[in-house]
Amino acid sequence: MLTVLIDYDSGNLHSAEKAFQRMAAEVGGGEVIVTDRPDDVARADRIVLPGDGAFPACREALMARDGLFEAIREGAVERAKPFMGICVGMQMMATVGREYRDTDGFGWVAGEVVKITPSDASLKVPHMGWNNLVLEAQHPVLEGVETGDHAYFVHSYHMVVEQSSSRLAHVDYGGDVTAIVATQNMIGLQFHPEKSQEAGLRMIANFLTWKP
């Protein structure tokens, strides 16, 4: 079993790597590597796409790597391997991102990524820190996770989904902010599971044993 964390020079993969490796060791999840090589992605059993920074910059950096996105798409869409997007990696699963300018997403989850606009003007953006999840649906990756569990967020934009069935969880920040989306073999987390202590590690462990 091989899980790849996609490295396209977007942020800190070290802690994600360590968190996935630790949970893989606990649940017998096999090998976890950080890579930017399409051939590694092609032979992987699970694909994780992290992402920090602005939507257009992340997409550009990913697409700039020869064959990398094609390998991800083939694995996640055609071969239906378990896929997890984290933060901007999750946002890019949407149809379109509105950060700075309109940028095409992968179109895997119908929706758009828009600026967070809390109804209470005293709430700061970015939405930074620990917020408690409100689960809207059950999912194998959320096994053992409950409404009220905290996750660590750092973001100014979030995904508004077209079909409510593709959203699994939100948090309250002067209105609903999308926290988790899913469709078939894909799940997207707006927060950082590798920074979210117990609940985050549990979701990582569940993902590593998920058989969609």
């Binding site: 800190n12 070290h14 970015p126 930074m128 820190g129 620990w130 917020n131 750092v154 100014s156």
Partner: protein, 253 residues
């Protein structure tokens, strides 16, 4: 609902904690990673390492610390001290930091904040502002550990660096730092009201009511403290319960 964060800060020199952390059960109270693990287990919301005499020669020790901490603590880590260029930010992020804090370098050249934020995203760029009261209702930036006056207005500077892309402000009141007399609340409120991004209040915490005031009166999104936790005066849990009892949303589970 978003919770107010409590952030213990460890001053580090040459890879060792300067003020030892007075926790029971620590094998090596001077090892920042041991302290970080203890704070992780205690429910701290984030951690901050500040390299207090960062030099070119000892930068490797901070990278090593970041790496070892990230391997063992699955919580957010901010590192500051001696950060001058976007390459410094990149090196620390790759080593395992989640956020990197500029201080003097941002005062000397606020555009370094923009260069770093454009490249790595605002979410990981913190600007640490050290300010002193120069007259009632007026605060100025001081650098080099509060020794060097710059004549720059703290509120204006905060607005500038946020416009350049800072994702968070770590505000230390130099007239309160080390006094245990409480945060400089008017300063904290002035900065917090002036910027759209979260402000971390720092400098002067002596008791748990000070933490409460930083949020309720100062408008801070997070509170940073060192001595009251390191010396074992209060636990993170006691601080959280005290703040929760005062009506502040805290992460208690």
């Amino acid at each position: 609902m978003l919770k107010t964060r409590i952030i213990p800060c460890l001053d580090v020199a040459d890879g060792r904690v300067v003020k030892g952390v007075n926790f029971v059960d620590l094998i090596d109270a001077g090892d920042p990673v041991e302290s970080a693990k203890a704070y992780d287990a205690a429910g701290a919301d984030e951690l901050c390492f500040l390299d207090i005499h960062a030099t070119h020669e000892n930068r490797g020790t901070m990278f090593d610390l970041a790496t070892r901490t990230a391997e063992q603590c699955f919580m957010p880590l901010t590192i500051g001290g001696g950060v001058r260029t976007p390459e410094d930010v990149r090196d620390l992020l790759l080593a395992g930091a989640d956020k990197v804090s500029f201080n003097s370098a941002a005062v000397a050249d606020p555009d370094v904040v923009a260069r770093a934020a454009d490249r790595f995203g605002s979410q990981c760029i913190v600007v640490a502002i050290d300010a002193k009261t120069v007259s009632p209702g007026k605060w100025e930036i001081f650098t080099h550990g509060g020794r060097r006056e710059t004549g720059i207005d703290a509120v204006e500077f905060a607005k500038t660096v946020v416009a350049k892309g800072a994702g968070e402000i770590l505000l230390t009141s130099m007239d309160r730092d080390g006094t245990r007399a409480g945060f400089n609340l008017p300063l904290t409120r002035a900065i917090s009201d002036a910027v759209s991004v979260p402000v971390i209040a720092s400098g002067g915490v002596g008791n748990l009511d000070h933490l409460v005031e930083g949020v309720t009166e100062g408008g801070a999104s997070a509170v940073l403290a060192a001595s009251i936790f390191h010396f074992g005066d209060y636990t993170i849990r006691e601080a959280k319960e005290h703040m929760a009892a005062a009506g502040i949303p805290m992460r208690l589970s």
